[in-house]
Each structure stands twice: as C-alpha cells, then as structure tokens.
Symmetry: C2
DNA sequence: TAATCTATGTCAGCGCATGACACATGACAA
DNA sequence: TTGTCATGTGTCATGCGCTGACATAGATTA
C-alpha cells in the first residue's frame, strides 16, 4: 500500500473522529461541514470527496458491517437453511466487533451515542440497513434459485434477520460498554432463533 | 368545518397531486419545490407550511397508516398475544386501503411507483416506518407491563410485524393494481403467522 | 361594522451538495 | 535523477432545500 493510500485512509479517519467529537460536543445539527473541514484543515469540497454527505459520517460502520455480513453469508454451506446462515452472518458481525481495536471500539460507541441522540440519524441508519437487506435478499434468492424481485419469503427471511440485528444493537439504546452490547446482541440472536418455527425458511 | 379548513385541506391535496404528477413525469430529483409551488400557484414558503419537506410528500400515507395501526392496536383485547394484535392492525390497514376512494387509491399507487423509482425515497419510507415502530413498541411494552426502553422482545415483535408490512407492500415492487397489492399483503401476513412459533411472543 | 385571527407572500439568509478548472504532490518508468 | 502521468486538493460559482421575521389580505367572530 503506497503512501498515497495510507495518507488517504488517515485523512478519512481524522475527518471521522474529528466530526464525531464535534457532534457529541455541540450537537449534530449545529455542527457544519465547514466547521468540520476547518478543524481537520481541509477544504469543505474535500470533505465531500471522502464522505458523500454529512449523514454518511454517521453510517460509516454500515459499509463495513455490510461487507462482513455478505462475506459471511457467501461462506456458509449452500444447503444450510437461509435464516441459519443469516444468523451466522450476524455472529460474524459480533465477532468482528469483539476483535476490533480500541480505536474502532471507541468509534463504534460514539457512533451509537450519536444515533441515540438524533432520531433523524437513526432513521437514516435504518434506511441504510434496508439497502443491505436488498443485497442479502438477492443472495438468499440466488441460493433458493428464485427471482429476487418476486421471492417474498426470501425478503421476509432477510427482513427478520435484520430486525434481529437492529433490535440487538439498539435496544436498550442507552449507554453500554462494548461487551454489554455484544452480549445483548448474542442474546437477541438466540431469542430470534427460538421464536421461529424450525424449517420455516425452507418453504 | 369552516371555509378556512376546507380550503386548507383542498390546497394540501392539490399540492400533493400536482407534485406527484410532476415527479412521475420528469423525475423526483429534477422537480424543484419552486416548480411545484409555481404549478399550484402558491409561494414556495407556503409549500413548506403544508409539507415539512419535499420528502414529506412521498411519505404522506405513512402518517395516515400510522394512525390506523395505532388505533387498531389499541382496540384489540388486552389479553390477545401482541403479535396477533399487530397482525390484526395490519389487516385493518389493508381494509382501509380496500375501502379507499378512487382518488386515494390513485394517490397510493402513484406514491408506490414513486418510491419504486427512487431508492432514496424508499430509504426515507423505511425510516418513517421505524418511527412508527417506536410508537407501536411503546404500546406493546405497556400491554406487557414493561419499560419500552428495555423490552427487547417487544421491539422484536413489532419489528417482525413491520417487516411483514414492508415485504407485503414492496415485494414485488413493480406494477400491481390495488387488489393485487392488498391480496399480496394478506398472503404475506398469513406467511408471517405461519412462520412463527405459536406463543413465541408471550415470553 | 369592528376587532381579531390566521393563512399567505415577500425577503433575506444559512447550510448542504456538486460541477468545473487549476494546481500540486505522489507514483512510476526511462 | 528526471520527466511524465495520475490523482488528490483548493478555489470559485451555483443550485436547491429549508427557515425566521415581518407585513398583508382574507376569513372569523362579536
């Protein structure tokens, strides 16, 4: 990895961390892009080259999480039931969180607090999850040998799985250290698995 | 209802219908608020007094749907299991759709097409649903005698129910007359009910 | 009719976001 | 090392969404 790429990655994280601190300090709405850019000493224009929007900052982890889930799902055996595979993908997400560096953990917890304080961002977060749902549904439909646009069961399977993820991460929203969050996430996965009829996702 | 109120309601619907037609004709992004306001012959400022944002236009039905679901949920017997009550609330939504006037139906179908063509709006729609989820979760938690902020099962129940709603309405997205949509919705509700273990939501 | 309320228009301004262009700095081969 | 190319960055200009403040015209009530 060349100097260029390393520098870019560093700038991206600097922007993110700086913005996060500003948000938590003085509020999301009352922090302008100009201000963030100024604090990192880049032009506002450059900010938008790293993050497509101000909201995008808050959804940073979603990009990463999506990759993890997709990779985990693809790596599951093809004959495993779709919902089980998705639950394993969720567990992969939890593992990734548990193995994250202190910096990453700190970022994650800050992001979580940010979302908690800003309903609008929570909404954006859910919307971002919906995009992930589309991708996952396509994979599940492929495994089922159906057309993703038609396969209602595939969508329902994925929607239930993503519901599990959201509830596990967001409920209860307040506080919580990283181990507490991952622990709750694991519990929620177990709860979801207990709640559904065995084989319901094989229709 | 005085002249004032009637006129307001009429203006609101005129704005909505005009905007909807403009959107479908020339695209959502490339239609400006100024243009919509011009077409209805009101000032842009007035537009924002009727709709809090341009996106709000596309989420118009959500406000209505939310009311229906909440009312239906409240009217269910307190000893019914939460998920069953929610499924009844969904059926109430379907009934409302079936009984809607031709104008309302047309609006609904146009909105659906609009959402289909604009992923960003689909996202906003999901985000709006998340807000409804919060309200429903509070009601369910109240029935269960728990703190809504803590009750993960309550959130999971509601999330599963809203997943059912979304999948039923959006999958498949393309085309579809109103009877087709309501029929698919009914099927999806039945599918969800079949998929879950009886009594799973009573823990 | 007079007194009030309220919906609307006007104006001014902020913040987010994007395209175009010029410049500088890292990458890479001769 | 040096020259060339690719790419990241700043500057400038602009458009659009959205909001506050204030004045006015029209509806409402007495």
């Amino acid at each position: 990895m060349g100097l260029r790429e390393r520098k870019k990655e560093k700038t991206r994280l600097t922007i993110l961390d700086t913005a996060l601190d500003l948000f938590l300090e003085q509020g999301y709405e009352s922090t302008t892009v100009e201000q963030i850019a100024g604090a990192v000493d880049v032009s506002p224009r450059t900010f938008f080259r790293y993050f497509t929007s101000k909201d995008h900052l808050a959804l940073w982890f979603h990009d990463h999480g999506e990759e993890i889930m997709l990779a985990a799902l693809e790596s599951r055996p093809a004959d495993e039931s779709p919902f089980s595979s998705l639950m394993h993908a969720l567990r992969a997400l939890v593992s990734d969180l548990e193995e994250s560096t202190p910096e990453e953990s700190a970022r994650f917890l800050k992001l979580r607090r940010l979302l908690e304080d800003n309903p609008r961002l929570t909404g954006q977060s859910v919307a971002r999850c919906a995009r992930t749902e589309e991708l996952l549904a396509a994979v599940v439909a492929a495994r089922r040998g159906t057309d993703p646009a038609d396969d209602r069961l595939a969508h329902l399977i994925v929607a239930f799985a993503m519901s599990t993820l959201r509830v596990g991460l967001e409920c209860p929203r307040r506080e919580g250290s990283l181990p507490e969050v991952t622990e709750r996430m694991a519990e929620t996965i177990a709860l979801a698995e207990r709640s559904l009829r065995p084989g319901w996702d094989l229709g």
